[in-house]
Symmetry: C2
Subunit: 493 residues, 2 copies
C-alpha cells in the first residue's frame, strides 16, 4: 500500500516551488476582498483523519489572520440551545469584505445526528433541507460559499490513523472513537455522500478533494478557493444596482382586495373599552406566563401604516407582560454592522431566548414593503424574499416560538387626521416628519405591496391578523383578544 | 399598624391628578434623550417586596417601550460564566441616546453573595469595589446613572407579604424563601446599607425611596429620574469638545527614556532563526494547549510603530495555535455600534471564552496613543484611561486570563526603509497610505505617549514586553520565547 500510494504523491520540491505564488495570490485575494461587496464562507469538512484541522491551520498560516475568522461548532451553549438551530450559524456570519473559515461547518453538526431509524432519517433530511436553504439564502445575497470535502478512502484512513498513533507527538489525537468510526467507514461515507447531494446547489457546490496526498490536497484547496473567488468577483461586478421601480404591479391582487374590503367603521365607547381591556390584559398576562413556564417564547410583529397606532398597541401589550422578560425592537435604519450582513441578520440577532418575548415594531417585512417600493433592493431580491421570510418564520415556529403578526389597517382620511393632529400637538410633533408625508403620497403603491405581502406570507404557523385601526380602542382590544387566542391555541389550551 | 400607615398615604385622587403631567414629562425626556450624547442607566433595586418589579413595569408603561430596554440578571449563562464577572453587564449597556432599566441591577447579584465568613466578606467588598469602579467608568464617560433603592421597613414588609398571600392572584409570588429572608431582615438590611455606602459615588449616587406608600413611591421614582435627567442634560451641554493638543508633554519621562535606551542592533541569521523558531513554536503549541486544558484563556495585545511587524509576528504565533480556538481582532476605525458605547465596550465584546485565545492587533491602548495625540478624546479622558486600562486588564487576569502585552520598538530609519519598500513592492503597496506618513511625522509625540503608556500601564499581572523590532527574525523569536515563558509561569509550570 505504502508503495502504490507513493506513486501518486506530489514531490516535495514541486510543492515547495508552487506554494509561494499560491500564497501571494491568496493574500492578494484578501486585499481585493476588503473592497468586495460580499463575504466569503469557506467550509472545510471531510472524512475522519483527512486533515480538516491541518487545512484550517494551513490556510490561517497562508492568509493574513487579521482578515479571516475561524469557527468550529462545539457543543451548543445554553444561549444557542434556547434558540432555533440555525441561530448559532447566523451569529457566526462574516460581514461583507471579510472571510470566515468553518472547521467542519454546519454539515458536520448534521452528520453528528448519525441517523439509524426511519424517524431519525426523516429528521436528518429535514436538517439537510434547512442547511441547503440557508446556503441558498446567503448565496442569493451575493455571498461566496466554498465547501470543501476532504476525501480519504478507507485504506488510507487506516494507514493515517496508524501513522498518527506511532508518532508520540500525535498519538493523543487518535481516540477509540476514531477507530470505532473507522470500522463504520462505509455507512458514514454513504451518509456523507447523501449530505453532499442534498446540499450541492448552484452557488454552494461541494468540491470533493482527494486527501491521500497531503501536498496535492493543500494545493488543490488553495487553488479551488482562489478560482472560486476570482470567478465570483467578476460575476458580482456585473450584478445590476437596485433602482426605484417606475410602477408597482401586484403579484396577488386578492391580497389587496382583501385589505380594501376590511370594514373600518368600528365603534367602541371608552367605558366599554376599559372594561373589556382589563379583562383581556389579565388573560394576556396569564397566557404569557403560561408560555414562559413551558419555555415557549413569543414573537410579536407589528406592521401598519404610519400613525396606525403600532406604538400605542405595543404599550398596551407590554403593560401586561413582565418587562424583565420582554424586549421591544424598533426597526428603523440599520446600523452599519447590520448593513454589512444579510438583511435577515438583524432580526436573527434579537430572536428571544426560551420563555422570553420580543416585539418587533416593524420587521423583516420591510424587505417587501419599503425596500420594494423605494428600490432599496432589486426586483429579484424582494421577489425571493417572500419565500425567505416564510422560511424564517417557519424556523421560529418549528422551534416552538409563537409568532403573532399584525397588520394595522387605516383609512387614508384617518391617517391625514392623525398627521395633522400630530403637527398641531406640541408633544407629538416629533412623531411626524417630511418622510411620513412622502410615504403618504405612495399610498397606492403601498396598498399593492401590502396586499402581496399579506397573500404571500400567510401561513398556518404564523398567520397574519388584519386589524381595522381607524378606531384605536377597537384595534387595541382586537390585538389583545387575538393574541390571547393564538397563544392559548399554540399551548393547546 | 394599618391605621398609622394609612395616615401617610398619598390620596388616590392626588396621585391621579399628578400622574399625567409626570408621564408627559417622561415621554418628552425620551424624545430629548434620542439626541443626547449619553445613555441612561436606571437601576431599580430595593428590599424584598418593596415593589421593584412593579416599578419596572410601571416605568415601562409610562415610557415609550421602543426607547428603553429592561434587563434582569438571572443565573449567568455558560457563555457568561466563562468570562470575567462584569462581562454580562457590559453586554447589556445601552448605546448613547437610549435607556436601559436594570431590575435589581448588578447590586442584587452582589448581595446574593450573602457573605458570612471573613473570607466571604473580603470577596464581597472586592465585588463592591469592582461595581463602584464600573459605575465610575461609565459616569466619567457621560452616562447618566440613576440608582434607586426602594426601602420597606420590616413591619411593612411583613404586612406586604401577608397582603400578597391573602390575595389568590398574588399568593404564588410569596415563597418560603421570602419569609426566611424576612426573618433575616436586619442582617440583610445592614448588608444592603454597606453595599449602598460602597457604591454611592458622585455620578452614581443612590436614591433611597420610601416604598411603604406605593403611590408616593411611584411619583418619587418618576420625579427622581426626571430631575436627574434634566440636570444631566444641562451639564453635558457644557462639556467641552475634544481638541487636538498643541504639544505633548510627558507624564512619566522615565518611560520614554527606557524606550529610547532599548538596543535595536540585534543580529540573527536565517538558519539560526529557523532552528530556534521551530523549537519555540512547538513549545508555544504545547503551552497554549496546556492552558486550554485548564480552561485558561489567553489574550495577546500587539502595539508598535507602523510597519514594526505586528502582522508578521501574529502570523507566526497563530501558526502554532489551533485556528479553531483563536481569533485575531484587527483594531481599526470603530463601527457605529462601537462608537455609540464606552470606548472599552468594543474590547469587552471579544474577551475569549474559557480556554480560547484572542489576539488584539492594536488595542485599548489606542486611547492613550492615537486618541491622545490626535485629540480624539479630551485630556481628562486619556489621563483617566491609564487607570481604566489597568483595571480592565486586572479583571481579565483575576478571572485567570493570561494577558501578554507587546510593544514592538522600531528605529525611525528602519521604519522609513520599510515604508519605501512597501511603496516599491506591488503586493505590499496596499499596506501603506498617506496616514502612515502623517503618523510618521508625529514620531516625537508618539514617543512621549508610548513612554507614558509603558510606565503607567505596567503591572505584574500583565507586564509590558518591549521587543526590539528592527530585526524581524529576532523580534518574532523574542515574542515566541517571552510568550512561552509567561504562559508557563502563569500555569505554575
Amino acid at each position: 500500500m505504502a508503495k502504490s500510494r507513493a506513486a501518486f504523491r506530489l514531490p516535495k520540491r514541486d510543492y515547495e516551488a508552487r506554494v509561494p505564488a499560491l500564497r501571494a495570490d491568496l493574500v492578494q485575494m484578501q486585499v481585493d476582498l476588503q473592497h468586495a461587496p460580499f463575504p466569503v464562507l469557506l467550509v472545510v469538512a471531510g472524512d475522519e483523519a483527512a486533515g480538516k484541522g491541518e487545512i484550517v491551520n494551513l490556510l490561517n498560516g497562508w492568509l493574513d489572520p487579521r482578515g479571516v475568522e475561524t469557527f468550529a461548532f462545539h457543543a451548543p451553549t445554553d444561549e444557542e440551545r434556547e434558540r432555533p438551530p440555525m441561530w448559532r450559524y447566523w451569529r457566526c456570519l462574516p460581514p461583507r469584505g471579510r472571510m470566515a473559515i468553518y472547521a467542519g461547518g454546519w454539515h458536520t453538526d448534521a452528520l453528528a445526528e448519525d441517523p439509524h431509524t426511519p424517524a431519525e432519517f426523516a429528521h436528518f433530511r429535514a436538517t439537510l433541507r434547512r442547511l441547503a436553504h440557508f446556503e441558498h439564502l446567503l448565496a442569493a445575497d451575493g455571498a461566496l460559499i466554498v465547501k470543501l470535502w476532504l476525501r480519504l478512502p478507507k485504506e488510507a484512513q487506516r494507514a493515517r490513523l496508524r501513522e498518527l498513533e506511532e508518532d508520540p507527538d500525535t498519538a493523543w489525537r487518535v481516540t477509540p472513537a476514531d477507530w470505532q468510526s473507522h470500522r463504520d467507514y462505509d455507512r458514514r461515507a454513504e451518509l456523507a455522500a447523501d449530505m453532499r447531494r442534498a446540499t450541492h446547489r448552484p452557488g454552494a457546490p461541494w468540491h470533493v478533494i482527494d486527501a491521500i496526498d497531503s501536498r496535492a490536497r493543500n494545493l488543490t484547496v488553495g487553488e479551488t478557493l482562489l478560482a472560486r473567488f476570482r470567478t465570483h468577483l467578476r460575476a458580482q461586478k456585473k450584478v445590476p444596482r437596485p433602482a426605484k421601480p417606475r410602477r408597482i404591479t401586484p403579484l396577488r391582487p386578492a391580497g389587496r382586495e382583501k385589505l380594501l374590503a376590511l370594514s373600518l367603521d368600528q365603534v367602541l365607547s371608552e367605558e366599554s373599552y376599559q372594561l373589556k381591556r382589563d379583562k383581556w390584559l389579565g388573560r394576556l398576562n396569564r397566557a404569557v406566563r403560561s408560555a414562559a413556564e413551558r419555555g415557549r417564547s413569543i414573537v410579536w410583529v407589528f406592521e401598519g401604516w404610519d400613525a396606525a397606532g403600532k406604538g400605542g398597541a405595543i404599550r398596551r401589550l407590554t403593560s401586561a407582560i413582565d418587562a424583565r422578560d420582554c424586549r421591544v425592537i424598533p426597526v428603523a435604519k440599520p446600523t452599519d454592522e447590520e448593513k454589512s450582513h444579510h438583511y435577515l441578520w438583524r432580526f436573527w440577532r434579537h430572536v428571544p431566548r426560551a420563555g422570553r418575548v420580543t416585539i418587533y415594531d416593524r420587521s423583516w417585512f420591510g424587505r417587501v414593503l419599503v425596500e420594494r417600493i423605494e428600490g432599496f433592493c432589486r426586483e429579484d431580491e424582494w421577489r425571493r424574499a417572500f419565500g425567505e421570510l416564510n422560511d424564517f418564520e417557519q424556523q421560529l415556529t418549528e422551534h416552538g416560538i409563537i409568532v403573532l403578526k399584525f397588520w394595522l389597517q387605516l383609512s387614508r382620511e384617518e391617517q391625514l387626521r392623525r398627521f395633522r393632529h400630530r403637527e398641531e400637538t406640541d408633544y407629538k410633533r416629533h412623531k411626524i416628519n417630511a418622510e411620513d408625508w412622502r410615504n403618504r403620497r405612495q399610498w397606492p403603491a403601498y396598498e399593492i405591496a401590502v396586499g402581496d405581502m399579506l397573500a404571500l406570507t400567510q401561513h398556518a404557523g404564523a398567520p397574519w391578523h388584519l386589524v381595522p385601526a381607524d378606531n384605536k380602542r377597537h384595534a387595541r382590544l382586537e390585538i389583545l383578544k387575538v393574541s390571547c387566542k393564538q397563544i392559548a391555541a399554540a399551548l393547546g389550551e
